[in-house]
């Protein structure tokens, strides 16, 4: 049973809908004005945090949203979760547009969407034992039935995240767990709600290298066997290349390139993607190809450059790039589903 039926909404009648469809989504925040700006009646300015992005995600699929900090990755996730309201566009979950639902009607849907945060040290309450942490969401959402059933679900969730035997972990406090184990508990906490979609925001960046692979393989297994969709937000292209089916590269609130992970990494077409890939340090010291280091940092999304928003930092920009805002399209000789927003690609 999907969350949609629970709230009496029919999924759209069309062909099997993707689990998540994001269409031309925009999330703009007003910039807080200082006193002088207010007195001088300067117009309110906007942060174009997410500025018209579209993508979809199917069950069993992992999509990585990559880009530098400030490019809009986290706002995208927060908007999908409706922690912030979108300015325009649609977010369809199992075919139902959630952007127009009231918070009350959203509630049952929320369960289907779970977030895994970056910092397992912050996302777990230090006063709660693992058992309480995992039972909490069941109590909040009024599921899990009897005490016994909740207990069983808790143990099952721990086993699913490979904290096994579960009895060894249920009574521990967060400080009695390693970083990797804490992140596993955080994942178990979202699994008890049986979500359709996991949003994982930098799920391993706080963890030690030696344990990252374990947590990522766990997420990988969950989406393959559990039929879940995972949207992973990361700045680590190597991780994205390894674990995601598709990669979407964001720059200043827009997706500038997306496509099958291996293809985006091996045959990048957007100059930004190319630069980004060129600066990823390789494991092999003999493999020191010269990185293409862009000057400066991502400009701020209040003053979005005209035309192609990447043109001020682009190594190949031409005059028309300062005027024309490129749309995503499939460049010549690329595979299915590979799209690039560049006039010169």
């Amino acid at each position: 049973m999907s969350g949609l039926e629970e709230i009496g909404l029919e999924p759209r009648a069309s062909a099997p809908a993707a689990l998540l469809e994001v269409e031309d989504l925009k999330t703009h925040y007003p910039v807080r004005r200082g006193v002088t700006e207010r007195l001088m009646r300067r117009p309110r300015r906007l942060v174009h945090a997410v500025d018209g992005i579209s993508f979809s995600l199917a069950r069993g699929e992992m999509v990585a949203l990559v880009g530098e900090s400030g490019c809009g990755k986290t706002t995208t996730a927060q908007t999908i979760l409706r922690m912030v309201d979108p300015t325009s566009g649609a977010i369809r979950l199992n075919g139902t547009d959630t952007t127009r639902l009231s918070q009350r009607r959203l509630r049952p849907l929320r369960r289907r969407l779970q977030m895994i945060y970056q910092d397992p040290y912050e996302s777990l309450d230090p006063r709660f034992r693992v058992r309480q942490t995992i039972e909490e969401p069941m109590l909040v959402h009024g599921i899990g039935g009897s005490r016994k059933e909740r207990h069983d679900r808790t143990l099952e969730a721990l086993e699913r995240v490979e904290l096994s035997p579960a009895e060894l972990y249920v009574d521990r406090y967060p400080h009695e767990l390693s970083g990797g184990q804490r992140q596993r508990v955080a994942i178990a906490t979202s699994l008890v709600l049986d979500p359709d979609l996991l949003l994982a925001d930098e799920p391993v960046s706080m963890l030690d290298v030696s344990v990252r692979a374990g947590v990522l393989s766990l997420l990988d297994g969950l989406r393959r066997d559990g039929n879940m969709g995972i949207l992973m937000i990361t700045h680590d292209l190597s991780t994205a290349a390894h674990f995601a089916d598709r990669i979407a590269v964001m720059y200043l609130g827009r997706i500038v390139e997306h496509g099958p992970a291996k293809e985006v990494v091996r045959d990048p077409r957007h100059p930004y993607t190319r630069a980004l890939l060129s600066v990823v340090p390789k494991r092999d010291p003999r493999d020191r190809s010269s990185p293409q280091i862009l000057k400066g940092e991502t400009p701020n999304p209040i003053d979005v450059p005209s035309g192609c928003r990447f043109h001020p930092r682009c190594p190949i920009a031409e005059e028309r790039c300062t005027r024309e805002d490129p749309r995503l399209r499939r460049p010549p000789a690329t595979g299915d589903g590979h799209e690039v927003a560049c006039l010169l690609a």
Binding site: E68, S69, V161, E162, L163, S164, P165, L168, S178, G179, G180, Q181, R184, D208, V209, S210, V211, R212, A213, G214, V215, L216, S217, L218, H235, D236, L237, S238, T239, A241, H242, F243, V265, R266, A275, L276, L277, V279, V280, P281, K282, R283, D284, P285, R286, R288, P291, I293, L294, E297
Partner: protein, 345 residues
């Protein structure tokens, strides 16, 4: 004679109830002018403690043993009074998280002028001019020195922290995780700067990080630390292509590579506690190819060829036997990322 020579450095921290934690357990390495040396290992393995020890900057709860020679002169032997004349003047460091620890109420230029005046390098107008030059050298316009740290981006603050460390023209720079909190593009900019400084000024650089690929790209040589000890040291090429300690091999195998297709595998278990004596090899409980003697006998360093050494009993086996042992285990360990029962990392 090396520029910096560290011999058998030990650090103990006093804990409550008379217990102590042996954070650094006999670390030795050396480096020459202009050389770039990496110090890598998991969180808690003693990287920061090692370099704070070199600087004589450990808290009063720490006891230190061993020798640190700068240009042949032992700097720790005479306690604070002997180390003070070398600290910042000969050997300087960029603290872990330095970019977020700049003084928020002082203009950036002043934060460079101050150490110069304090150490009698220059004062007044001359110090200000030199500080301006330093800022330019690290890629910040001198005029921006009149701004406060919060007006800088993360990358700019890290550049300022580097300029500050260079205020007294040291010969050796210890950089503790200088790019960990930064985006890949900014990381590439900072690494390019550090490499440039070591080339242009003949600065010897110790790059401390948990990020193997960063070390692989920047350093000629590196040491891998585990549980307070260096377990392998050598040219970065040798560490990657012909590691002689299973920990080095497994760390690389746990690190995803942009173009690598092989599965990334985490290392089961966690590092040992350092507040108890460790018997035998500290890595044995997590090792995939340990021998019986690893349980009781602490492995000593063995030279593996030019500038390459490792502390592992496997190196006492004939080459073929060692390869077979490691190879067999490697194939077997590739399946589950976590060991049931042993607890997921």
């Amino acid at each position: 004679m090396s520029l910096l020579e560290v011999r058998e450095l030990h650090v103990w921290f006093d804990l409550q109830e008379g217990r102590e934690l042996h954070a650094v357990q006999g670390v030795s390495f050396g480096l020459d002018a202009g050389e770039r040396f990496g110090l890598v290992g998991e969180s808690g393995c003693g990287k920061t403690t090692t370099i704070l020890g070199l600087m004589g900057l450990l808290p009063p709860t720490a006891s230190v043993a061993g020798e640190v020679l700068v240009g042949g002169e032992s700097i720790l032997a005479g306690g604070e009074s002997s180390v003070r004349s070398h600290r910042w003047n000969d050997i300087a460091m960029i603290f872990q998280g330095a970019m977020n620890a700049l003084n928020p109420v002082k203009k950036v230029l002043w934060q460079i002028v101050e150490p110069m005046e304090l150490h009698g390098i220059a004062d007044g107008t001359q110090a200000r001019r030199m500080a301006g030059d330093l800022l330019e050298m690290v890629g910040i316009p001198a005029s921006a020195g009149e701004r406060y740290p919060h007006e800088f981006s993360g990358g700019m603050r890290q550049r300022a922290a580097i300029a500050m460390a260079l205020a007294c023209q040291p010969k050796i720079l210890l950089a503790d995780e200088p790019t960990t909190a930064l985006d890949v593009m900014v990381q590439a900019q900072i690494l390019e700067l550090l490499v440039g400084l070591s080339n242009d000024l003949g600065l010897a650089l110790v790059l401390v990080t948990h990020d193997l690929p960063v070390v692989a790209q920047v350093c000629e040589r590196a040491a891998v630390m585990y549980a307070g000890e260096i377990v392998e040291e050598g040219p970065t090429e040798a560490l990657y292509h012909a590691p002689r300690h299973p920990y080095t091999r497994l760390l690389f195998a746990a690190t995803p590579d942009l173009y690598g297709d092989e599965a990334v595998v985490s290392i089961p278990g966690a590092p040992p506690r350092l507040d108890r004596a460790i018997e035998g090899c500290a890595f044995r409980p997590r090792c995939d190819s340990s021998l019986d003697r690893c349980e009781s006998e602490h492995p000593e360093f063995r030279a593996m060829g030019a500038g390459h050494r490792a502390a592992c009993h496997l190196n006492d086996l004939p080459g073929e036997e060692r390869a077979a042992r490691e190879g067999a285990r490697r194939a077997g360990s590739a399946a589950p990322a976590a060991t049931p029962g042993g607890g997921a990392p």
